[in-house]
Symmetry: C2
Subunit: 210 residues, 2 copies
């Protein structure tokens, strides 16, 4: 990978999608693909694909195309999907449980070590292999356990307080499902999942398709 190259956020957003399509091709036993064929499949233009992947050095070869297994692996390395990550989930409602199960069933690499909630009826339960703890104990837990990622599945009102607690506890990144724009220091990664954005894009196409 080229060092000292500033990769735009838009490219980083697209890389996981490239990787998903490459994984499907790999499963189907396909060895290589041209940017033109890849374009038809993934829906970006061939020149966009070449430009995106060129950010990371010469993956493609003129007249041969991209080596699927190689590109799949290299994107995985760039993203860091082959490392192991410990996670905590704050909020053990339906969404928190859905994410806990999702992570539990994930291929590997992710381990939810604890969930936190303020609801005494849920504290102490086991969800997807992780124990639900009292949110009041989160600071102490994070002080004693190295956690890479905090996942926020609370409602909007408490989300910033949760984020502050996670940041204070030393997490490297926050995966936020609460409909709130959180403030975190620059050295903490933040990825927001705004379900309404996706729903609203869908509405646009529904209304155009009539």
């Amino acid at each position: 990978m080229k060092e000292n190259v500033k990769i735009s956020r838009a490219v980083i957003k697209r890389l996981p999608r490239y990787r998903r399509y490459l994984e499907e091709l790999k499963k189907k036993g396909v060895d290589r693909i041209s940017s033109g064929e890849f374009s038809k499949l993934i829906g970006y233009t061939a020149s966009q694909i070449r430009q995106d992947l060129n950010n990371f050095g010469g993956f493609g070869q003129q007249g041969y195309g991209y080596n699927i297994a190689g590109l799949y692996n290299q994107i995985g390395v760039i993203l860091g999907v082959n490392h192991a990550y410990s996670l905590v989930i704050v909020g053990s409602g339906n969404l928190g449980r859905a994410i806990a199960n999702y992570m539990y069933n994930y291929k590997s690499g992710f381990r939810v070590t604890a969930m936190f909630d303020i609801d005494v009826r849920i504290i102490g339960r086991d969800i997807g292999g992780a124990k639900v703890r009292d949110f009041a104990e989160m600071d102490a837990y994070l002080a004693g356990n190295a956690v890479d990622i905090g996942i926020i599945t609370t409602d909007k009102s408490g989300a910033q307080e949760v984020a502050d607690g996670l940041v204070g506890g030393g997490v490297k990144g926050i995966w936020n499902f609460a409909p709130a724009d959180l403030e975190v220091p620059g050295d903490v990664a933040l990825e927001n999942v705004h379900l309404s954005d996706s729903l609203h894009s869908l509405l646009y196409y529904i209304n155009r398709a009539k």
Copy 2:
């Protein structure tokens, strides 16, 4: 809005985000904003903002900027958020329930009229105001009830069959949470929520932030 203009998918993806930020500004009592100020807030370049919003006609005024309430409303009209939509959810596990509650608590406009599952232990229950029905009855239900959007929260294996059933039943759009690339006819809108894409982007920044 300009008619006969082909709006790119990337722009449509950004519109809900513009609307979210405009809503926050409106709540704070801000009346107008320049593309430069908006750029600092939302993280797109000022020229990107002007170009995006120009797709829909002259929202901004030189020396004045964008009228926040007006732009917010116009984007809402473009997206179609002010219409009423009926929805069904297929899959009543944790994710299905989370989405049912999410839609139930949504401001307005969306009504989940039924959920479907194959699990006899769940069929007949009420979740977020919607009754869980036997998936075997979905065709008959869709034949008798006009449904705009089908939401798929099943696992990957059954997702295409569910999508086929929804399409056959006349839905206009599918909001898919299953980790599957679905095939639907061109006149049915499809929006996929790939949670792993968002998670993998987060990993990239976690590994760079070290």
